[in-house]
Symmetry: C3
Subunit: 160 residues, 3 copies
């Protein structure tokens, strides 16, 4: 009897995006090269709309910013899963970039970024641990408060 991958079980038991959001430009959601998968910067879109808009600390509070980071992370996994077929093929996350549209005084980007980091570990367990860079930006695309990108290690596609 096949064991269900815990990340795949998490995915089946939660309300998750049906697949990758359409890229907002002339690029791909995910590119895989050997054991490395590069996932494009993700916005906190749900059903095609941003959860929230604006600068964190000025127009968006901490709980909303963290929820937006979590949604970005979920969308990153949805894009990755659509490309590689199953989260069971995720060996380990490698690098997570979290970019926070910040007011001129805001310096708590790591707290916002934890919204993404914790989702990755909730879904993938130990495999969801990662290195991270969290930066303050000015306005971001579509006026999103957060954008998350991902590099992951994946296993080779299993023989059919």
């Amino acid at each position: 009897m096949a064991t269900i991958d815990p990340a795949e079980r998490w995915w089946s038991e939660h309300e998750v995006p049906p697949g990758p959001a359409a890229p907002r430009g002339a690029y791909l959601p995910v590119v895989v090269q050997g054991e490395f998968a590069y996932v494009s910067g993700q916005l906190p879109l749900r059903e095609g709309k941003l959860l929230v808009e604006g600068l964190v600390d000025e127009e968006v509070g901490m709980p909303e910013a963290q929820a937006a980071a979590r949604q970005c992370a979920l969308n990153a996994l949805a894009a990755l899963r659509a490309e590689i077929g199953s989260l069971s093929r995720v060996r380990h996350l490698l690098r997570v970039g979290v970019y926070v549209a910040s007011s001129p005084r805001f310096t708590a980007q790591p707290r916002v970024a934890n919204g993404a980091s914790e989702l990755f570990q909730e879904v993938l367990g130990e495999r969801g641990q990662h290195s991270r860079v969290a930066l303050g930006a000015g306005r971001l695309p579509l006026n999103t408060p957060v954008e998350v990108e991902l590099v992951a290690a994946v296993t080779a596609r299993p023989a059919p």
Copy 2:
């Protein structure tokens, strides 16, 4: 009869930079490790001068910003080609980072970034597709409106 790589043909038929711009600091234009090539952040320099300067949406309009992004992408390919000898060795682009010096209200960074993305696909075709992150920054080095960095998959150097 050897077939000319389409990207090399594009290169020979267009006015392109003679080679990599000198780095503006203590770093290399490109580092190759195995199948991965890392290209340093590129500015829209042509003959040693920025095409345009300033914040997009405040001092630089959309067409100029897109042209600048295109020039950055061209310079990234010139740097990569100088390092690996021929664009025929580019297997696929992996990650493109586009950083846009943005006015406090500007949120159309993906449209600017398309200037780079479209050049990559014009030169490399399907191999030029990539994952992407587009961010809004404040002022950038030398007051450039755009900076583009690149990670690419390359093939091993052919035996002599």
Copy 3:
């Protein structure tokens, strides 16, 4: 008689951080996948405190900003060394990201970034050369003036 790796000798002869700073969130200081090591964004912490705080060019001058970048780079190597056991396993640096909290007029991010680039080459020699992206950001985590992240090529762990 075993030769001492020059980078390890440098390390033994200088006052260096005892190990990685504790991550400021739910992530790891370093993740290694095959020959690639991803080091999280580093702040200019020494004994748990930022060397200096604020926006470069407004609250922080160039020499202090360069010293901060140097400390970030030292902390990145300390984190990497703690993970892989010895700097002798560093084959080559690949990508260095330097993010500078910048005043609205500041455009000399490459000069700040040289503080990090030069430290890498001082410790690692030719192996410390790297590709680089230097960006201007707004406020950064904890109000640091600089943040540095790193991707490095490492050799496989030697057999015991």
